[in-house]
Amino acid sequence: MELTVRIGNRKLPNPVGVASGTFGYGSEYEELVDLSGLGAIYSKAVTPEPRPGNDIPRIIETPAGLLNSIGLANVGLDRFISEKLPLFRRFPCPVIVNVAGKNDEDYCRVVEELDEYDEVWGYEINLSCPNVKEGCLAFGSNPAYVEGLTRKLRDLSTKPMIIKLTPNVTDIASIAKAAEAGGADAVSCINTLVGMVIDIHKKAPVLPAGTGGLSGPAIKPVGIAAVYRVKRAIHIPVIGIGGIQGADDAIEYLLAGASAVQIGTATFVDPAAPVKVLAGIKAYMEKERLESLKDFHQYIP
C-alpha cells in the first residue's frame, strides 16, 4: 500500500497532517500524540514580528463548530528560529511552516530567513486568515496578487510551497489556478469560514473583532465542495481541510480529489484523532483494494 504523497520535490510519509494553528509548534502535544504517525505538522503561523494576538474572548463554540479570532498570535521570526526550530530537529515527522504577513516583504522575509534550515520541510503560505486587519485574506481573494506573491516566494526556495486558500471568495478555483500559475506545488483548502455569534443579552458580538473563523464538523461539506471544485481546475495536489473528525470524513476528501488532508479542530477534541484517521484510511484502502492514494481519484465526482 502506497501512502506517501508527493508535494513538489519531496514526499510526505502519509496523507494525514495536523493543521496550522491547532497544533502549536508541536511540542505542546508531544506527551499526548505519537508524532511519528503524522504525515506532517503544519506549524502555527509565523510573521516577521511577534504578535500578541487579538483581544479576548477569542473563541466560542457553535453548533458542531468552533468560531475563533486568535489573530495570528505568534513568537515572531527571531524566537521561532532560536526556540522552535531546535524542537523540530527532534520531531520524527516533516514540519511545514505556515507563513503569514501584512505585505509581500513580510512573506518573503520569513521564507528567505528560514530556507537554509533543514528542519523546515516546506512552506504553507497563509493567504486566508480571516482574523487580521492587514494582509492574508485581502491578498488571498485576489488572483493576480496570489499569482504574483507565489512567484516571488517560488524564486526564494526550492522546498515544497503550498498556498492555503480561503473559502471566503466567490470562485475558489480561480485563486487555486493563480497559485498554480505562480509556481505553487500544492494548495490546501480550506481555511476557516467567516462567521459571527451575537450575545443576545449584551446585544453585541461575542468576539471583540465582531467576526471570527469557523471550523469544525459544521464546515465539512463546504470543504469537500471546495476541494472538488479546485481539483477540477488545477493539476497540482490539493490538501483537504475542514471538519475532519474521523477517517470517513478524510476518505470523503480523498474521493473529492484531495491528495492529503489536515486535521484541525478534531485534535482539540481527541488528540488521537490524526492517528485514528490514518488507521481508518488504511483499513478502507485494504477493504476497497486501493493500492495508492491516487486510486481514490478515479472516483472524483
Binding site: 505542546e28 502535544y29 500578541p52 475563533n68 473528525q245 485534535t267 481527541d270
Partner: protein, 254 residues
C-alpha cells in the same frame, strides 16, 4: 499529561445544580494531579458539545479522583446524567498548582460557586500537612452551598447573599479582621469575587493567588484561545498552560 479512559465511581448532587463526580484513574508518581490542576473531559460522542470541557480537580487519592461541576448547559446536563461504571475520556493533569504557603504565612482560602472544587482539594492537602488555615465559601443562598460530605471536617465559614446560611453578605464580609500570622490569599470563583479578594490582599500587602477561567479549546497550550489579559510586558497569558493559577497582581482585572 495523559489521555485515558476512566470509569465513574459516583456522580451526585452536593448542592443545588452542583455535582461531585468521582472516577477511578491511574497516574504515575510524576503525574499525580495536584490541588489547582485541572482535567479536560470529552462529553458524549459529538459533534455537540464539540470541545472538551475543563474542570479543576477537587481531590485525588489512591487511584480515585474527584471534580465538582455546575449543571449549566447541554454539556454538563449530559455529565449529570452519567452513572456509576460509565466511561469518560479525560486528559490530565493539566496546568499549574496552587503555590505552597510559606511557613510563617496563614493561608486564607476563598471559594465561590464552582471554585469550591480546587479550593476544597487544597484545603484538604493543607490539613494533611497539619497546616492551620481559614476557609470561606460563598454562594447566593444556602442551597448552593456544598453539603457536609463534600466539606468533610474542614471547618469552613459560609457567606450567603441572603443570609440563609452563615454570614449575610459576601466572602469579603466573612474575612476575619485579624489573622494569627501574615495572611496569604487563595481564591477561586467568579471574577468579581476574585477581584475583591485581590483588592483586600493589596490593602493588607499580602500575596494572593487566583485560579482563572476562560473558554478553552485545546487545553494544552497549543491554540492560544484561552488567554486572559495581564498587566506586564506580556499582554496575554494562556489559562491552560501558563495558569490556571496566577498571581493576582499579574491580572488585568478591568
Amino acid at each position: 499529561m495523559v489521555q485515558q479512559k476512566v470509569h465513574l465511581r459516583h456522580n451526585r448532587e452536593i448542592a443545588r445544580d452542583y455535582f461531585e463526580l468521582e472516577f477511578s484513574c491511574h497516574f504515575t508518581e510524576t503525574n499525580i494531579p495536584l490541588p489547582g490542576q485541572f482535567l479536560t473531559v470529552k462529553i458524549g460522542e459529538g459533534p455537540a458539545p464539540l470541545l472538551r470541557r475543563p474542570f479543576a480537580f477537587a481531590g485525588y487519592e489512591n487511584g480515585s479522583a474527584r471534580m465538582i461541576y455546575q449543571r449549566r448547559g447541554p454539556g454538563t446536563d449530559m455529565l449529570a446524567g452519567m452513572r456509576e461504571g460509565d466511561g469518560l475520556d479525560i486528559i490530565a493533569p493539566l496546568g499549574n498548582a496552587w503555590p505552597e504557603p510559606e511557613k510563617n504565612e496563614h493561608p486564607v482560602l476563598v471559594a465561590g460557586g464552582i471554585g469550591m472544587g480546587p479550593i476544597l482539594y487544597f484545603a484538604r492537602s493543607l490539613k494533611e500537612k497539619y497546616r492551620d488555615f481559614t476557609l470561606i465559601i460563598g454562594a447566593r443562598t444556602g442551597e448552593y452551598l456544598p453539603d457536609s460530605s463534600a466539606i468533610e471536617n474542614l471547618a469552613a465559614l459560609f457567606a450567603t447573599d441572603d443570609g440563609s446560611i452563615g454570614i449575610h453578605g459576601t466572602v469579603v464580609d466573612a474575612l476575619p479582621s485579624q489573622y494569627p500570622a501574615p495572611p496569604r490569599f487563595y481564591a477561586c470563583g467568579p471574577n468579581p469575587m476574585m477581584w475583591a479578594i485581590h483588592r483586600k490582599a493589596l490593602e493588607l500587602d499580602a500575596p494572593c493567588s487566583v485560579s482563572m477561567e476562560q473558554t478553552m479549546a485545546c487545553g494544552v497550550g497549543a491554540c492560544m484561545g484561552c488567554v486572559i489579559r495581564l498587566t506586564g510586558h506580556e499582554r496575554y497569558a494562556r489559562v491552560c498552560a501558563d495558569g490556571p493559577i496566577f498571581d493576582s497582581r499579574d491580572i488585568q482585572w478591568n
